[in-house]
Amino acid sequence: MAAVRFLCILLAFAAAAACRRAPDAASTLRFHNMSEPRTLDPAGAISVAEKNLLLALCEGLTSLDPRTARPVPAVASRYTALDGGRTLQFDLRECRWSNGDPVTASNFRDSWLRVLEPATASPLVNLLFSIRGARAFHEGRAPRDQVGIAAPDTRTLIVRFDHPDPRFLQLCASSPLVPVHPRAAATAGFYTRAEAFIGNGPFVLAERTPNLRIVMIKNRSYWDASNVTIEKIVAWSTDSKQAAVDAFRGGQSDWVDDFPAGQASSWLGSAELSTSPYLATFFVRFNTHKKPFDDRRVREAVHRAIDRAAICRGILKLGQRPATGFVPACMETVSDYHCISGPDFDPVRARELLAEAGYPDGSGLPPVEFQYDTNEDYKKICEAIQAMLRENLNMRIYLINKEKKVHLDDEENLRYGGLSRGSWIADYMDPMTFLEILAGDSPDNRTGFQCKEYDELLERARAEGDPKARLETLQKAEEILVRREFPITPIYEYVKQTLVDRKRIVGGFYENPLGVHPMKWIRLASSGK
């Protein structure tokens, strides 16, 4: 009797299982985009997840080559540098918005001015500050018509700069500089409802379910639509890397952008694992307002007492490079910048420095708190550093993990006890994207480090017309960071660790130093598995 009931329950289960969902079509790309985007408004986009989506939904004057992440012509068919690089002229090709309207030069001008508008509160507004008059307009010191963006006709855009900006063609592909349809501001649900959305990218919005997925379908009005083979994209959002990996294993996802570091060994050697150098650095911040790290010798001692190679070999295992400089070495592959390395692992010199600072063999050192945001991957690295500093400097360190927002709050207010974990991912392929954050007025500084010489070098680089001299100036700045002042100590350079189902994704998917994958180029196997 009871057995019969149990059987009935099992049968009901099986019956419910029978009405399962239909599988996705072969021409549908599914990928795990990790965290839910904050917004699809290009002016507000800031995270990697948002950038991934905006690459599909919008297109700027340039777009990124999927192999190299270098800018290639997109909406602009041609760009010409005039006046020694102080003026850029963009010739637009004939393209249309997804609703059929033509994409015009004034669309770009208006979109960029909107980003500069203080009320828009665009977080990456400073990417536009090299444009003449842009910063003054944003800060309310100049009127709108003083900004050096002009649209003399519908297909020509002229941008003027105070100083040549070698990054600008790259920036044109990034989210704050893509055009937004004029109707966006006045349309309710423009970024959430398929009917309302109008874009100029290779795909358009088809469905948006917060915390689940964003579905995009091919944009028939896109100028290069004949080269787009994917019909539909499903971008899953999840906070859990593990859930993403599970879905990948279960065949629900063709590509997962990250996975828990602890699984590195189990994926090593798998055909699905793809790793490549990534413009991102893991580092440790010093609270330079707090003893003993107010003394640069102590900071250098810490820098020299960390065996980075051991961390990369023992914990990370996916080919991450030990970093002694802030700008990752792979910057050299995408620009003419020559990276600066700081001092190597040298415990003997480290102890000397500590003694010079008045702490021979670590005596007299106050106990130090090492704070990080709760995360299993970070924990292992911080524990290794803790052990090295104790071993090599006799420094007593307490690891303190805090919830992310609390950690950020402590960092911003310099409330952390001495050391704090940090990382930085490049916005574009130029050392400035790293060095900028340690400027005295940067909200991302969070070390209390304030160096006039450093800030002046950055200012000089911004104004420098000659690209070579500009990069040399930036090198000098980086030298201050990692050879002299040590407001931070770099630990390692990231690799982009991606899982790709190569049976599904058969072409157009490359690793590049920015870790972006423009979906326009991706080719799927014609028959799904």
Binding site: M1, A16, A243, K405, D409
Partner: protein, 321 residues
């Protein structure tokens, strides 16, 4: 006509129900206000702001954003504004999901949470109650033993263990169900089981214990002495008394299911309002957390009121107040 005279003309039952409704409505408003105030101030007491991130906003931008959301006003003023907007039915914008208002998000997430919650509750009652009654009716029989096993397992295995186990067994090994998402009706099954198992175990035990208690009462002996059929005795005479504890538990069961949905939704990747609370709290998305907490409170208040109403409807002694 004079309202007092209308009330005077009513039957005692009608008067009871009117008084019941009035008293409950007043109590509900007070509860909701207290919860609103407590969560509002507690949320803001947590360190860290809604707009901090790996990349800090430029100070000028942060100032604009904070002014827009009045985050720099004195906190009591902020609360006052929140209440004002609440009375107008406006729950505010979501900080983290900037393209949506809190109403939008709830409208999207609530049906999903409600679907798995309702399925979980139906599963818990639909299996727990009959099984408990059957177990009590044939005490120490085969069903009783199976029921005992289910009850122990349901209470001992928390949903965050059961959920992944169900995924492993039914999705990854048997391939009967998808491991996550909410695309087809079948996707409701595993989350509902994971969510409903705990309440099922409690209902089963309450129903069994309640039934055993009632079956030993004099009025059941008397019903037997009257020569009634065993089925009549079980269902007409014993059940109403036996389900009172089950009914009393329905309020807590709804609370348990609501709380469990926070975990279960994340296990099964279901984009319901449970996830909003978790993510909202992590992101300091004050309006979103407030909106969902108030919704949950209102739901629990309503459920408890319904339970009490059912209680009064079943047990005539309660209506004599």
């Amino acid at each position: 006509m004079d309202p007092a005279r209308i009330i005077g003309k009513m039957t005692p039952a009608a008067r009871f129900w009117i008084r019941f409704a009035a008293r409950r409505a007043a109590r509900a408003l007070i509860v909701i206000f207290i919860v609103a105030a407590a969560s509002f101030f507690l949320l803001r007491a947590a360190p860290g702001g809604p707009f901090s991130g790996d990349r800090a906003l430029p100070p000028s931008i942060l100032r604009i954003v904070e002014e827009r959301y009045r985050l720099n006003d004195p906190i009591y003023l902020q609360f006052f504004h929140y209440l004002q907007n609440l009375l107008r039915g406006d729950l505010g914008p979501s900080f983290r999901n900037a393209d949506f208002t809190v109403q939008d998000l709830i409208a999207i997430g609530l049906p999903k949470t409600a679907a798995i919650g309702a399925c979980a509750l139906l599963f818990a009652i639909g299996i727990g109650l009959p099984l408990g009654v059957a177990a009590a009716a044939r005490r120490s029989g085969a069903i009783d033993r199976i029921a005992g096993g289910i009850a122990v397992a349901g209470l001992a295995v928390p949903n965050f263990v059961l959920g992944p186990f169900l995924v492993m067994f039914f999705s990854l090994i048997l391939h009967w169900f998808e491991p996550g998402g909410l695309e087809a009706p079948a996707d409701l099954v595993l989350p509902a089981v994971a969510l409903g198992m705990g309440p099922l175990a409690v209902i089963l035990r309450l129903a069994r214990a309640g039934m055993l208690d009632v079956l030993s009462l004099d009025y059941i002996q008397f019903a037997r002495a009257k020569g009634l059929r065993e089925r009549t005795i079980l269902f007409r005479h014993a059940l109403p008394g036996a389900i009172s504890p089950v009914l009393t538990y329905l309020g807590p069961a709804c609370a348990a299911i609501l709380a469990g949905s926070l975990v279960v939704e994340s296990i099964f990747s279901i984009p319901g309002i449970g996830g909003y609370v978790v993510r909202g709290a992590a992101n300091r998305d004050y309006p979103l957390v407030m909106g969902v907490v108030l919704l949950g409170t209102a739901f629990l208040v309503i459920m408890n009121t319904i339970v009490d109403a059912l209680y009064a409807a079943i047990d005539p002694r309660i209506r004599r107040s």
